[in-house]
């Protein structure tokens, strides 16, 4: 009988929202691969892909089709179940993050108030951290199951890198949480949206830089792309993968980038807040749509930043990576946390 007590319309609403968000993030990830290539090209004085469709806009579809049509190879010596589990976990973990990101305020449709967030759980950001650190299992399992020494080394690198940088990331996050006093992403965004309130970047510039560097390391982006360092480890953990399993790994990286951009936008840049505009003066539905656009703009800016950095900075050496993580970022994050705590205490008198 408890089943019948469920709000079935709410279920339907959330299902539709999940479908929209998952497919939208996949679509955006698809075009992020394209823009990655375009950004790389213009930064290197090239035109980039421009043959498939007008201005090359069909290129990601062609790439996807190519990946699907390729032969699916599972090496004989690979551990089959884990070999398949690896990319699946990487993709799942990447996509699960989007559940707690507040995409916008609520819209009113058919007399119902629909939150544009799949789940506003009160431990939102902790959930993100939990899921993101699960993403490293995708790399580890994939690298181990390949039964290839390069893949294994890449997996080890990926795991140790993720662990080291998650620490600094968590510590720089604590400073934000001290200001907001809540773990729910929605609350954090709403506090930044409130009239007269500033975005968290104003209070936490150092924290943001630390978080950004760590996010880049978590996404395995250059300059921290040691797990897939082409010139040392061939392809790293996805060396033995082919067809769509490889595609999933590559895709997961882009979905991770989008999600970490969304998290950073929500934590430090006001999420779906439109700067210098009081959203409460607008009709709620229009405000919600503008909010989505605002968040997407912030995400696109972050994605461009990710790409811009990738095509500028060479890769860290492994010991440099560890030095930076443990000897620079973590102490800085601790200092930032203590300073924030001290200021908050002093303000409270």
């Amino acid at each position: 009988m408890t089943l019948l007590a469920l709000d079935w319309i709410l279920m339907l609403e959330k299902l539709i929202l999940i479908a929209i968000i998952v497919f939208a993030s996949l679509g955006i990830a698809l075009y992020t691969t394209f823009s990655e290539r375009k950004v790389a090209a213009v930064l290197q004085d090239r035109p980039g892909p421009n043959r498939a469709g007008p201005m090359g806009l069909l290129q990601p579809l062609a790439d996807g089709l190519k990946l699907i049509m390729k032969e699916e190879i599972i090496p004989n010596s690979a551990s089959k179940a884990l070999f398949i589990l690896g990319p699946a976990m990487a993709m799942t973990a990447a996509l699960m993050t989007c559940a707690v990101i507040p995409w916008s305020s609520s819209v009113e449709l058919f007399g119902r108030k629909i939150d544009l967030q799949i789940a506003d759980i009160n431990i939102g950001i902790l959930y993100v951290f939990g899921v993101v650190s699960m993403g490293v299992y995708g790399i580890m399992i994939g690298g181990w199951a390949s039964n290839n020494k390069f893949s294994l080394m890449a997996a080890l690198r990926g795991a140790s890198q993720a662990i080291s940088y998650e620490l600094a990331m968590g510590l720089s996050l604590i400073a934000v949480l001290m200001i907001s006093g809540s773990l729910s992403l929605k609350t954090i965004v709403d506090q930044q949206m409130a009239p007269g309130a500033w975005w968290n970047i104003v209070y936490q510039p150092l924290g943001f830089i630390l978080f950004f560097v760590c996010a880049m390391a978590e996404c395995n982006r250059t300059p921290f792309d040691l797990p897939e360092a082409e010139n040392e480890l061939n392809m790293g953990y996805h060396q033995e993968y082919s067809s769509m399993k490889l595609g999933f790994y590559l895709f997961a990286e882009y979905v991770n980038m989008i999600m970490s951009s969304a998290v950073m936008a929500s934590l430090y840049f006001g999420g779906y807040d439109i700067p210098f505009l009081d959203e409460s003066t607008l009709a709620p539905n229009i405000a919600a749509i503008l909010g989505v656009l605002s968040l997407l703009t912030k995400i696109v800016i972050f994605l461009f930043l990710f790409m811009w950095i990738r095509w500028t900075i060479p890769r860290f050496r492994y010991d440099q990576l560890m030095n930076l993580g443990w000897k620079s970022l973590i102490p800085l994050a601790l200092v930032n946390m203590l300073a924030t705590g001290a200021v908050i205490l002093w303000q409270q008198g």
């Binding site: 930064l43 090239r46 035109p47 811009w308 500028t312 900075i313």
Partner: protein, 178 residues
């Protein structure tokens, strides 16, 4: 030690200063450089549609020349084959029969003329050796082929189309018309 060029720079092995150890200022500097490249002119040539002009001295695929009346210049004297360092040229001579004066300029002509484009090094010595202005290196290059045999170019591949009857094909073979 005396430097060979004036371009050498001494490597600075001083320990990094605080500003350098911050990384970020230099990273920002580097990012400014890459960003400025967005606005630079791209040197790309969109290949199949646009083609880059070869220089007039480009040594490409060979053509066998005709004279102003469209008659073949080659007399199959074999000097080109002798001059060829890669030994890529073979030919067989034949005598011009009465009534063929409109085809061949002199009494002797090449019945068979073959150049193996896999052996040819495009040095242009055949062009220099030819006393009759019969062989030239055009401004085109040998297209890819699937078989080795396909790279042995016979007379029908090499002989330039008649300028008077087929001017367009003539220009394509010469390669300078773009």
């Amino acid at each position: 030690m005396q430097a060979l060029t004036n371009r050498s720079k001494a490597v600075n092995r001083d320990p990094m200063t605080f500003m350098e150890r911050l990384y970020l200022p230099n990273i920002v500097k580097g990012m400014a450089i890459t960003f400025s490249h967005i606005f630079k002119k791209q040197p790309t040539i969109q290949y199949p549609e646009q083609k880059r002009e070869f220089s007039p001295v480009f040594r490409g695929l060979h053509v066998l020349n005709r004279d102003a009346e469209g008659r073949e210049n080659c007399t199959a004297c074999g000097l080109c084959a002798v001059a060829c360092p890669a030994e890529a040229i073979t030919m067989e001579a034949a005598e011009r029969m009465p009534g063929e004066e409109h085809l061949y300029r002199e009494e002797k002509y090449a019945a068979k003329y073959e150049i193996n484009m896999l052996r040819c090094i495009f040095c242009g010595l055949c062009e220099e050796a030819c006393p009759k202005d019969a062989i030239y290196l055009s401004e085109t290059f040998a297209p890819a082929n699937f078989t080795r045999k396909g790279f042995i170019y016979g007379k029908d591949d090499l002989l330039i189309p008649n300028k008077n009857t087929a001017p367009e094909e003539y220009a394509t073979a010469k390669g300078a018309a773009r």
